[in-house]
């Protein structure tokens, strides 16, 4: 109780609020952390708009199988469920890494990021195995308009995850070499946003492509 009133009094009188690891003083223009985070949020939203174009083309072309296999004949839902689990838990461990970064705890940060990386790699490996299997069965991206749009949409998400893993490894190295400096913390904020946004897009992918594809 005493704790909370003290915090409140501080927030009211000094216009100071402790958020995460940083103390933010409110006067003049917004602090750099907010400007950076907001700018990256706008980038993520434009990325989601780009994905919506891929979703639109997939939805339009889903019936154009040119006599080839339909989604329900191709998709292995067990594989998709494992991929989803990997990405979901990696989002959680990425959250743990954000907490560790705010606590400036090097060891827990590196552990959480390493687990996130392993789960991301497992996701990618499963996805690539699925793609290789489809191409081997003669259902590659050149087979039909449906499969072209499928590979474009799911492959685009996979490319984002690959880029995210490269970024993740870069952040592990930067934190290891430079510590939790303010600029590194801003990059970590952006990375966490990116990783969580990828998970949101995957929710749309597994629902629209895999589940609706095998239900109908």
């Amino acid at each position: 109780m005493a704790d909370t009133t003290l915090g409140f009094a501080q927030g009211g009188s000094n216009n100071l609020r402790v958020r995460g690891a940083s103390v933010v003083a409110y006067s003049g223009s917004a602090p750099k952390r907010i400007v950076t985070g907001y700018g990256f949020w706008l980038f993520l939203l434009s990325d989601i708009v780009m994905f919506s174009c891929f979703f639109a083309s997939y939805a339009v072309l889903v019936g154009q199988t040119a006599g080839g296999p339909r989604g329900s004949q191709l998709f292995d839902l067990r594989n998709v469920a494992i991929e989803t689990g990997c990405l979901l838990v990696s989002s959680f461990t990425c959250g743990l890494a954000s907490i560790a970064a705010d606590m400036r705890n090097q060891r827990w940060f590196q552990i959480a990021m390493a687990v996130t990386c392993v789960l991301g790699l497992a996701f990618l490996a499963l996805e690539l195995r699925e793609f290789a299997d489809l191409i081997k069965r003669g259902a590659g991206p050149t087979r039909s308009a449906f499969l072209s749009s499928f590979f474009a949409l799911v492959g685009c998400h996979g490319a984002h995850v690959s880029a995210g893993i490269l970024w993740l490894l870069t952040m592990m190295a930067q934190v290891f070499a430079k510590g939790f400096r303010a600029d590194i913390q801003r990059r970590l904020l952006c990375f966490a946003l990116f990783w969580h946004a990828l998970d949101i897009i995957w929710v749309a992918v597994f629902s629209v492509v895999y589940l609706l594809g095998s239900a109908t």
Partner: protein, 130 residues
């Protein structure tokens, strides 16, 4: 005077992804609750997709609703986009993004459905080309 100054600064911004809460325990619980809800919604959607227990035409609607709910869970518990006054900018940007997403997807489906509807059936088209 001092009240006005306070009022000016009452709706301060927060970066997307940043939390109000600074203590470790509640933040951990936040992420754990998010993970639990997300797993629950994912499991429900996979279950609904493969079951015969529900009315079949309702399945696509159920999957879409569950997906939107899960995206909401991710936004609130992982990205910390809330409805608080310090989040106005983030929410407005999100709303604008969603507007564009709905225009692109809905518009494409609408226009293409109209085109297919107005096009001659494929066999007649082939005959005309001969």
């Amino acid at each position: 005077m001092s009240d006005q100054f306070q009022g000016l600064h009452s709706d301060l911004d927060v970066a997307p992804g940043d939390e109000e809460e600074a203590r470790v325990g509640p933040r951990l619980i936040g992420y754990a609750v998010g993970l639990g809800l997300a797993i629950l919604l994912t499991a429900t959607s996979f279950f609904v997709a493969g079951t015969d227990l529900v009315w079949q035409p309702s399945i696509p609607v159920a999957i879409v609703v569950l997906a939107i709910a899960q995206m909401g869970v991710h936004l609130v518990f992982f990205l910390h986009i809330t409805t608080g006054p310090d989040n106005t900018n983030n929410v407005l940007a999100l709303a604008f993004g969603m507007l564009i997403v709905f225009l692109v997807i809905g518009g494409s489906l609408w226009i293409m459905a109209n085109l297919t509807h107005n096009m001659l059936p494929m066999d007649q088209l082939m005959q005309m080309q001969r």
